[in-house]
Symmetry: C3
Subunit: 654 residues, 3 copies
């Protein structure tokens, strides 16, 4: 695994570039991402390119042997460009423009902006496509950041109509698919259809789901436009985009089909603060992030690129500027995050950013260096971990163990009709992921279109749109599989299946969901040693349940290894279910304390202590006096990492 | 009382209509509401009517003897109509359009949309007005649903100016009535006046109140337009509209003057979740609804139609889709709700809807049938209650007992100037209603214009605009009467009366409110065994108070049976006040446990257990070994109902 | 000190004016503010002035010897004026108009509205400028009330570009100052620059800060326009504006340079309810206001006018109408507030308003008189305090003791980039003020440009933009000085200083802030007997800290009397720090109970009991049997005030 950083030569006086490059090497970095926000310097006036400075910057980095990932600058079109076609900006749900003055001020559907992107990307690719220092390209930057996937512009409206016409051909088919008869919402032609916005009450959910599919497809084609240009002019370089955390607004699996490497931007502290975690978790992990946040995304994005190659393009190196509260990371945790990425198979961990900028929006975002050019804590840890990584042989990602099936459309669907406010798809997936990880298991998070053969256990937290083809695929697998609540609850058109949920799953599991209930906080259904909250389903079946509530209602049903969970589960229930599945699958598990996580990669075994207290690996029977540690030792301090070589006989241990 | 359902033949393949009709009869339903959202099928292209399908649907229902309530489809104008005059949609308070894509996408003040409504209603009335199966018409659907009463469109602005010119004739009179001198808000002519919207800080409250009166009057005239057309072309049929729960945006008393039957849509679980109830109540009654929610509306809407005729047009039969959380009703509670409506004098309980639709916005709203055509729990209970109703002779609503006076303008006024955030009119009324009902009393909720003679007790939770005529009316009554806080606090122009509150009431009760105070949560004034919260008034009077705080300040004052309560009361205080009033009025009361409610209708006595625990009617001295039950028995299980015949000597028991 | 009231003759029938004037005198008032909302009466039609009524009103007041403060009516332009140039209204952050219908419906940058203001102010000044009864003018009313400083109108955009061109001359300088290279935000000319509004994510903080400076400057010039006209035509009269509470949207120090008297509008109960105080404080002080609210503003605004002259232009006399909850003031507290203003050096306390208006927006705002013309509690207390004031010789404000340095730009800066949601500048200043006041100290709150010589202690709660000139100034002072967190953290361009925070302060205090952390509620750092919350900084220094956390990290560092506090402090920590500073400065302190406050003025010593319980001044060693009280006595009841003459030897007691 390589280390790198994000660098903005245009932000600094040219006379310190050489020193910057030298210091990067000295710390142990080998790759640098540059250029992705520099349009106004590359093309300061319409049509007038200034390559000189960028030539020099690239050469400066190249001269010390740094490899370069060059970003296309399409996330920050300059003011003169926006002023030349003011309707290129996106329109928000209230009908307001999303103006110039920060970044991502464009609508994916604006055809002339796409032309401008073609032009600038072509120019960049032609200038640097064959430069030996350029090893990869990053397209744009963080698609969707600041809620920029869905736009209600005129361009988007016209593109949506075209998308619908292509999908449905006949507007009558659309009327039926959406159930437009419901409230006289029938259309006579595609030109009558508007985006599902500012309606009196909620718009038709089928309308919304198609709009989100459309918006996601716009991202896919926008990205492909750039990739096609770059591949043609820069052969042999990796195509990369940097995804974000807990972000499901577009289909990353689809975008990933056009990439060589899926990268993501890892800010564990910011994500903990900004997302659904409880106050208790936000305090406990304020300086580490929840132990599963980074790993979840590593495992998710590894599955979002056809070849399974992935990186961390931006790694939090200190306090950030954008969360409600921004504490400093625990000393040592930047190192831990770096080794953790390695344990999950990353090719690169690139710190964001080289030096903290003293100006503009992100001036309070830490870098490896402080604004006064001294090393910040991030640099200290990067230097240490660079040495440690060198001790570890690169290994491939190892054998398949547990697969979680993730579907972006599920997120869109449940956001469109949650039915209960607390039913959040990404949280349900995360809960199941976390339960598996607390059993010490290696997890792959994959698309429902992925090859599932070879996995020993499969978990689909919820798969609301369930095709017969998918059911046929799982029929061929002889491993334990769990489907979570609301699986098979909708057709692809966002309708309830004629045979009721779980739809096509009934082919292998004879049960029907006859009624569902969402439960407000505090309203729970009692199990023996756990509570069901948020969601419960009434099941009609002759199957004997394998988990019941105290009132005898079944909440888990299985047949031939295929299981259906008819409730929102607690961690306690999940642990029991997964332990049973692992036992059936003959997968070794290890019940871990709350703050400890394991990961194996090839024959390397990693252990990470995300807690404040030290842990003893021997006490947990994870290590013994005989264990030879490559990194760390059996006593794992706060933020500590240990790595040792796994034994052959424990092959089955995840 | 009849049972019915809401049915949408246009949603289903025609080949199942016959079976649907047969099954409705089989369950015990006799009325069906249809048509209210079907405009796009009745008139698929401008001016081209398609009656054939509706003819067949009506005949299919008629053939098995079902009676039909036909809805006018004006809540869902088709897209082609909206596109032909895009300014017919309402404009929200932010100036945004309220677009096509769901329902109720029209502004009541748009004159050309009114013409279109005239046209479609006339066409419907001419086609079906004399069809023997048509027994009633429903105008539009749920006026005001999704916050659609007040619009800030150009049409509304022009209509408002006209309304003002008619009301005030002279703009000088308006300037005085509103007190426009206050901040140089004086107008020189009516054409200078805009809706009270997007002002820098709060607009003049008189301006707001007149705008809400105007908006309400627009509903009245919109409804009357349809009623007049229908009455002329469909003689002998009942005119109905379906009101909503806890909804006060327009004056239902005024709309009701043009109707034969006031109906309403009863969703006890959704209302509990969405309104002001405490978390404790929301958990305790999650699957039953608060015991007074349905009854409150039954008693309210009975008073919203001149003849006192009323129905439940939509009865929740299972989980709904639109609350934040949507649990399933307790088994048996749909039956309880149905018998409860009967006990309060309903003519019809119509379940919404026949079959759960698998598509569009309400696909998660339960019906009597599941989407797969099997019977849901609602159908099971409807079938049972249909048999039970047949056992009970219809009786009239019985003698007058307690009247609550309800004023829609009071709701508008306190929303415009709450003076303390927690002063909510509808909640105050509900609190008083609930206290009366927990004493076992029958309650009528009536307009201040209603005939009050014959009532044994009268309660006006608050009547801020109090005319001398009304005071004269109560002078003639020799029964205990309670006026709540802020009664008489404003003139009809939204000014403080010259003689101070309670204004004209001082004619019968010599006291003045010299100062009022709103209290933040936690700030209370101590009574002996109760707390005053939210609101307290400083009273200037020589009267000896009948309730005082521990510091001797009076909060209840009375003279000749007329009482004024100068505080927001707790349930404890209300119970004491009402017991005293009942004793003075010689009205029998019964202190009920929290979950039990009684209602008498003619000589039938009903008891309803809204709780989870069983209750014994004997233990409560409500029944004895000798009681002959028509329904149920002395042990009342959870969701249980008992009905027995009242004794003559207990006439005074409510 | 004089007493006065705000009076609106135009609201009342002319035949009661004489009686009103007589009663004002009778109560003890000597000044009356009139006219500030009367534009529609002064100029009922464009260009047609009606002076007659105002002539008579002024003469009526003059006839009984009342002095008049005449307001310019520019806060309430009439409808005809707005209709003549509809673009004169402000545009809010969502792009919506801020319409006519209440007040302050204008944009400060609209040039033609400025012309209209010139016209009406000139007309008023020419008519009344030399009237002997007119002793002062109030410009406009409460600049900024209802969030009216910042506007996004076309006028504002053009004026902003002009302001920028004047400030930067060259757009390249602006690009560098703002760091526009960051996200390709560079401009090619000033005409490309828009207000920082509706951007996709946060705009450049330098852009925002300049927009706020611009908006503030617009207020300054708007005010100066009026002052210049008035001074020329009404020589010898005081120029006054009435500021608001906890309001920092414009630079009051700058506006104050054009005024003779800074006045403010004091509503302690409303401010307590509406601002950040804890629930415990909101309940404890519901009827008094927090003990430091009024005093804080007295001391703040005394420093906002070059000569130190100040008044209370509007004094809450009873319940108000505009807070979420509006309880009544404790009996006696209006008197206390009045004497408290005197103790802090006010020239006038003017009650708002004479008589409660029965109409329009503020009809629930108490006056000295009730709407029925009887005296309300406010009048009772005003009459009493008028007599008491007469007993006390006027004295000057006394010697300098403690100075707090207040910077409006600091408020704008921290609002633009809080970095942690709970870092609120005004709250930090208030906390420090309150800690000082609980030690019995007299405090002046002054601009960083003020003359600091003569103060015995100086506290800068935070001074993020710290010039070398200011550091030079403090070098010359030999008194203890405390700088709070984030001092020196930014340049004037909103960049991090090259030498890191605290920037230029390093010149006298050798430390660097190498990292900052914001802490979510509940995340604290432990000190020995206190907790650090919200904010903590990591300090690089060789200095030995004078306060440390339990883990030894320093949070307070000092050298030669200059101290830097690297954390958000608790009251406990502040008390300890200030006691040490006071001891070093040889300033006498007195640890007061929570509800008691002291203030000295010349040789008068005041004590105020803001609590519900009585306090004994002897028990606190503040008085003895020998003390001769001018007002009150040694036992201070709830809302009680005592005044006595200070001894010469206790000169050093604040
Ligand atoms: Zn990023
Ligand atoms: Zn409905
Ligand atoms: Zn004011």
């Amino acid at each position: 695994m390589k280390l790198g950083c994000c660098y903005y030569p245009e932000h600094w006086p040219e006379d310190i570039w050489v020193d910057d490059a030298r210091r990067m090497k000295d710390i142990g970095l080998s790759q640098v991402r540059i250029g992705e926000f520099a349009w106004s310097r590359i093309e300061p006036e319409p049509g007038r390119y200034d390559w000189a400075w960028l030539d020099r910057a690239i050469d400066t980095l190249d001269n010390v042997g740094l490899e370069i990932i060059l970003g296309t600058p399409t996330a920050t079109p300059p003011k003169w460009l926006v002023d030349s076609m003011p309707d290129m900006i996106a329109i928000d749900a209230d009908g307001n423009p999303r103006n110039f003055g920060s970044r991502r001020h464009y609508c994916f559907s604006h055809l002339n902006y796409r032309k401008e992107c073609e032009r600038i990307v072509t120019a960049l690719a032609e200038r640097y496509g064959n430069h030996p220092a350029i090893v990869a390209w990053q397209t744009d930057n963080e698609y969707g950041c600041h809620d920029t996937i869905v736009s209600y512009s005129e361009s988007a409206k016209l593109a949506f109509r075209k998308w619908l016409a292509e999908k449905y051909a006949d507007v009558g088919a659309l009327n039926i698919a959406w159930g437009n008869i419901f409230w006289s919402m029938e259309y006579r032609n595609f030109a009558e259809i508007d985006p599902p916005n500012l309606t009196v009450t909620e718009p038709n959910p089928s309308h919304v789901l198609d709009y989100r599919r459309f918006a996601s497809d716009e991202v896919v084609s926008f990205n492909k436009l750039q990739v096609d240009i770059l591949r043609a002019r820069s052969p042999g370089r990796d195509m990369i985009h940097n995804y974000m955390g807990f972000f499901t607004e577009f289909n990353h699996h689809k975008v990933g089909q056009d990439l060589d490497v899926a990268s993501w931007d890892s800010y564990p502290l910011g994500f903990l603060e900004q997302f659904w975690f409880s106050d208790e978790e936000k305090l406990r992990y304020a300086r580490q992030g929840h132990p599963d946040i980074a790993a979840f995304h590593h495992d998710l994005y590894r599955g979002c690129c056809t070849g399974g190659r992935w990186s961390v393009m931006e790694q939090q190196p200190g306090p950030v500027n954008w969360a409600r509260y921004n504490p400093a990371p625990l000393d040592g945790i930047v190192r831990l995050w770096t080794l953790e990425a390695m344990a999950h198979g990353a090719e690169l961990v690139s710190y964001f950013r080289w030096r903290q900028a003293p100006f503009a929006q992100e001036q309070m975002h830490a870098g490896l260096l402080r604004p006064d050019n001294e090393e910040a804590q991030g640099a200290v840890e990067a230097r240490q971990v660079a040495r440690e990584i060198a001790l570890l042989e690169t290994a491939n990602n190892g054998q398949k163990s547990v697969a979680i099936i993730f579907a972006y459309e599920a997120a869109w669907l449940f956001e469109t009709q949650p039915q209960g406010q607390s039913f959040r798809y990404i949280e349900l997936v995360f809960e199941m992921y976390s339960a598996l990880r607390q059993l010490g298991l290696n997890v792959d998070i994959v698309s429902h279109e992925a090859d599932l053969s070879g996995y020993k256990m499969i978990v689909a937290p919820s798969l609301p749109i369930l095709s017969s083809a998918f059911v046929d695929k799982i029929k061929a697998l002889a491993v334990p599989i769990l489907f979570g609540p609301r699986t098979g609850s909708k057709t692809a058109d966002f309708q309830i299946p004629a045979e009721l949920p779980p739809g096509a799953l009934q082919d292998v599991l004879p049960l029907k969901i006859k009624r569902v209930q969402s439960l407000r906080p505090g309203l729970t259904e009692k199990g023996d040693d756990h509570d069901v909250s948020r969601w419960i389903e009434d099941v009609e079946t002759d199957l004997v349940p394998s988990e019941t509530l105290v009132d005898e209602r079944g909440i888990l049903f299985g047949k031939n290894g295929v299981n259906y969970l008819a409730a929102w589960p607690s961690q306690k229930l999940l642990r029991r279910i997964f332990m049973k599945m692992a036992s059936d699958a003959d997968v070794g598990i290890c019940e871990l304390p709350r703050d400890l996580r394991l990961r194996s990669l090839g024959d390397l075994q990693f252990a990470f202590n995300h807690g404040i207290e030290a842990l003893s690996l021997s006490d947990l029977n994870l290590a013994s006096a005989a264990t030879e540690f490559l990194i760390g030792e059996e006593n794992l301090p706060s933020a500590g990492v240990a790595v040792w070589r796994r034994q052959i006989e424990s092959q089955n241990r995840a």
